[in-house]
Assembly symmetry: C2
Homo-oligomer: 598 residues x 2
């Protein structure tokens, strides 16, 4: 078991300098997000994560959630931890004050989310799914539905789930077969759903399932899907959990990781049909789902940051404490901790740089979410929505989760043989992280979303405008002295040039050679993630250099930001250039073989 | 559960064109390795792997080996499978005919090893460790020791282990504390060893432990270590297992993967001291260990190839069978298997290209091992030993195992949500693979070995001569027509230029800035692996183009080789350039922070 310490200073640095929190606090509705309040929220969230959630993480992995006689039992301590989490108001952080939410910006919300996930990803998935249900209800629920469910979900006293996937309907959601038949003021739902995260559990008194189903005579595909609210217990006249609905968890998946998070096969309507309530209008279910997709994908990206940071903290602690060998190159003298060894140091710096880059990307995207919701200036709101939020959501989801896996793997490697032993805990992060590139739209789906909906639907412009922003930073770097900034300038200039080339390739080929463009989507997304991370780290380094001149500056902390951005530019940004080359050259050859010859 | 099919055609292609098997068969002692015999051996090995070992793999993972009352029970079926493996003579493939070995070249032996490991890595570890004991005894055992143990170990009726690691002595083997005290014609050994693979089990009648221990008054560090043979049962006068020795397995590790392979904590000498027999001379134990290191590291590299191929086969089968979505870009028409989707195709091509590149590297290195043992021409023997074998052993160990992890991760991704479910089997490969970058010298240790012992001890020359060889291939590519060969030429030229720059950086900095050179070791090794893999694939593609002109040529198979080499050049070789840049630029900045600031 290892300790977790919420990296509040690092988070605040990113919130202030990359998310530009003061600008968010100036938006209507976010006035409460003063620096003092944000600091207090993060400090308190950090305590809860470190003291309550983190100690349950390894044990939760060992025993997992189990299904017994139709009841899912979460590991010891989870129910009590959830109760405290709800009582502390933590579930309500980013939601609408009208229904009991705290109305804090998403930029702050994701920092708290990072903590929950770093401390205990299995636990954190429960509120992550509830968040989706809240978003759907807020946007599309009737007033009665909101009055009945929203305050419960926002407080967390009831939890929510997303029921999309069926055995034949994964990425192809349009293949959903679950049926809904109208019966008076409600519908009867029947069908089987799989991969339902926290679909059944013992930590809250009711569970509100959001279910995609097909109504009679609905067209095929996604256009025939409607969205239903299907509670585990139907609320009685006073809004309390009443009659048990006709739905149940029939089995739990035996998974590689996140074992404490119950992943359920759900059966709806084994008997008379589960009572469900239509959300919004018929046949618009898929459209509604897109409402919550930005938030959900951002949150999964944050999971990548979280698991990376947890793995990094653990590897760093081990490297400082594990004594092995002598100073590099000497056969005499004292034994030293392995952090003294250059190769171990490089692994730790790689973990640190990737984690911090992913965090800047996620928090920057979260800030754009706040602007897209609340900025009163239509032009700026549109810019933030299209050129930042929409563009970077798939990048945040996919690249940050890839980073999570890579950093967790390095975390094992720093531990050597001990990393492979489950008791150490490093392996759990590696296993837990591996789901994040898969769910909430695989990373391949994110890459296609990036090139098609986010870039080429707008003729490539969002990508080119991102490039413009980056080049402003390259220019700014030219004004700064010292080899660290020169290195960032060089790395960023090469990578931005490569990004421009790859983007032009995309623009030229998207219509003419759509299969090739699609085959280039993944390396193009990787390029975008690597480069945007490096760009935002460099912006942070510039801010650090400015702060360093101020009285009372925390020089070691700020120097760390500069050194990390420089290492990233030297060591990781070259991979962006490689990804650009792979995009341009490798996309045709990826398809060269007939399927049968692969 | 998934099937495994030994890729005999692919293996033979590499053996013929990259290992140049006809040249090996011309070496003294290897005359039996005719094409017909090699084909027969590989076909039969493939059947054993597919029909006997592969079906035990998933169940072995589920139940694992367990320790009960001092006895290690391997999963059902393992003991019977091992019996058949021994009876078929498979353990004896690469060993000395004088003691019952088959005397086949290592190049052929590694192909069989790849099969055992792909089918069941936990199982295959048992003979892998025995191999180390055989090598040590062959090279350094007394005639009596050879007569007593060698035939048993070569046949596999007894198994062997390597006992190096102790809790305080991992990478720093010199910290070993296990003691050996002389008593008449033998020694008494006492101490605790950890991470002892197949240290105790129920599949063979005796276990021969090779134990590093410190004799009285021995100096500190590796120079004070001696090597002892410590059998579980002391052979009686007729060479049969007799009196139980004073050693036992006190616990098994609970590991991320290879769960059927018992990883033991071994206690020697709880009572009167375990009887051990000195191998060779006192204080030369560490030197002797280097005897078997090339073979052992090559074998672990082969494990990387094996797990990659298994993961690839499984992902490919799934992609052909899983129906999801329609042809890219169309909303109408038939549902298609996911192999039709460009992004899935790219993942599969990446898996295939990396796996084949790693295989060429491992088999090429194995061929050099044969030449280093048997080539009668001293100059060629030295060239093969220093410029190929010694140089590429650490690259094969580290890069092929990194490839194994990367490909296994892609294998999960191709499966989508199903990849995260243990029943699917893809996750087991991901877990099993993760040990290979750690044991038999971590990949960081390999990287340091590469730059120091293998390159800079010879003033950089082995790397520069490898570069010369590669440039000959670039020149040869210039003579070939078609865009595939033009693409290989371009990719290889860029990567070889980058390799030259990085090697010159290493030569310039190794003495002057040893810490920086050490911090650059890992990206430099990655560069060498990526480039050598791409070079050998290109050599294979050239051979394929030549064969394609011959009557009766298998055109689809040969075209596949060319297409794969081209995809690798387009899509993966750019990462070699990135690794070269990271070596040169990132090594100083990796060390920029004081430890306490990391």
């Amino acid at each position: 078991m290892t300790d977790y310490r919420a990296p509040v200073s690092d988070m605040r640095f990113v919130l202030e300098n990359i998310s530009e929190l003061p600008k968010i606090a100036a938006l209507p509705g976010y006035e409460d997000a003063t620096p003092d309040l944000v600091e207090a929220v993060l400090e308190e969230a950090g305590k809860l994560a470190a003291n309550l959630l983190a100690p349950l993480n390894q044990k939760g992995d060992e025993v997992g959630s189990v299904l017994e006689n139709g009841v899912v039992r979460t590991p010891n301590g989870f129910a009590e931890a959830y109760r405290q989490y709800v009582e502390g108001g933590w579930n309500a952080v980013p939601f609408d004050p009208e229904f009991g939410g705290q109305g804090l910006p998403w930029a702050v919300g994701v920092a708290a989310q990072e903590m929950w996930n770093a401390a205990n990803m299995s636990f954190a998935l429960c509120p992550l799914l509830t968040q989706g249900a809240v978003e759907l209800l807020q946007a599309h629920g009737s007033q009665e539905q909101k009055d009945t469910y929203l305050a419960k979900l926002i407080s967390g006293s009831w939890t929510g789930t997303m029921n999309l996937t069926e055995p034949q309907a994964g990425t192809d959601v349009g293949a959903v077969r679950t049926r809904a038949v109208k019966e008076g003021d409600h519908w009867r739902i029947s069908g089987q759903k799989i991969f339902i995260t926290w679909g059944e559990h013992d930590v809250a008194e009711n569970i509100v399932h959001m279910v995609l189903a097909r109504t009679p005579d609905a067209p095929e595909g996604t256009r025939g899907l409607s969205l239903f609210l299907v509670p585990k217990f139907l609320p009685d006249s006073e809004g309390r959990p009443g009659k048990r609905n006709d739905l149940r968890c029939v089995s739990l998946e035996h998974k590689l990781g996140i074992k404490a998070s119950p992943t359920c096969v759900m059966s709806f309507g084994d008997n008379e049909g589960a009572v469900g309530f239509l959300i919004g209008e018929e046949l618009r279910g898929m459209e509604y789902m897109f409402t919550m997709m930005n938030n959900a994908r951002l949150s999964v990206g944050v999971q990548g940051v979280a698991i990376a940071d947890r793995a990094y903290q653990q590897a760093l602690a081990y490297a400082r404490q594990r004594i092995q060998g002598r100073e590099f190159g000497s056969r005499e003298g004292q034994l030293v901790p392995i952090i003294r060894h250059p190769d171990v140091r490089r692994m730790l710096m790689t973990m640190r740089a990737l984690t911090e880059a992913a965090r800047t990307l996620a928090y920057y995207t979260a800030a754009a979410l706040d602007h897209s919701k609340a900025n009163p200036d239509p032009a700026e709101r549109e810019r933030q929505t299209r050129d930042v939020l929409e563009l970077l959501i798939p990048v945040t989801k996919a690249w940050c989760t890839d980073v999570g896996c890579e950093v967790a793997s390095l975390g094992i490697q720093v531990h050597g043989g001990m990393g492979f032993i489950e008791e150490t805990g490093a392996a759990q992060h590696y296993r837990d992280a591996r789901i994040t590139p898969i769910y909430e739209g695989t990373n391949g789906v994110q890459a296609l979303d990036l090139i098609s909906r986010k870039i080429m639907r707008h003729k490539g412009e969002p990508a080119l405008r991102l490039l413009e922003q980056m080049r402003l930073t390259v220019s700014r770097l030219e004004e700064l002295e010292g080899e660290s900034f020169a290195a960032m300038r060089q790395g960023l200039r090469e990578a931005t040039d490569a990004f421009e080339e790859a983007t032009n390739w995309l623009i030229e080929n998207y219509q003419a050679r759509p299969l090739e463009a699609a085959a280039g989507a993944t390396p193009y997304l990787r390029l975008t993630g690597l480069l945007t991370g490096g760009w935002l780290l460099a912006k942070g380094a510039i801010a650090a250099a400015e702060k360093r001149e101020q009285p009372g500056a925390d020089a070691p902390f700020l120097d760390g930001k500069i050194a990390t951005a420089r290492f990233y530019a030297d060591s990781i940004l070259p991979e962006a250039v490689a990804a650009a080359t792979a995009t341009r050259r490798g996309s045709a050859s990826a398809l060269a073989l007939e399927e049968l010859a692969v």
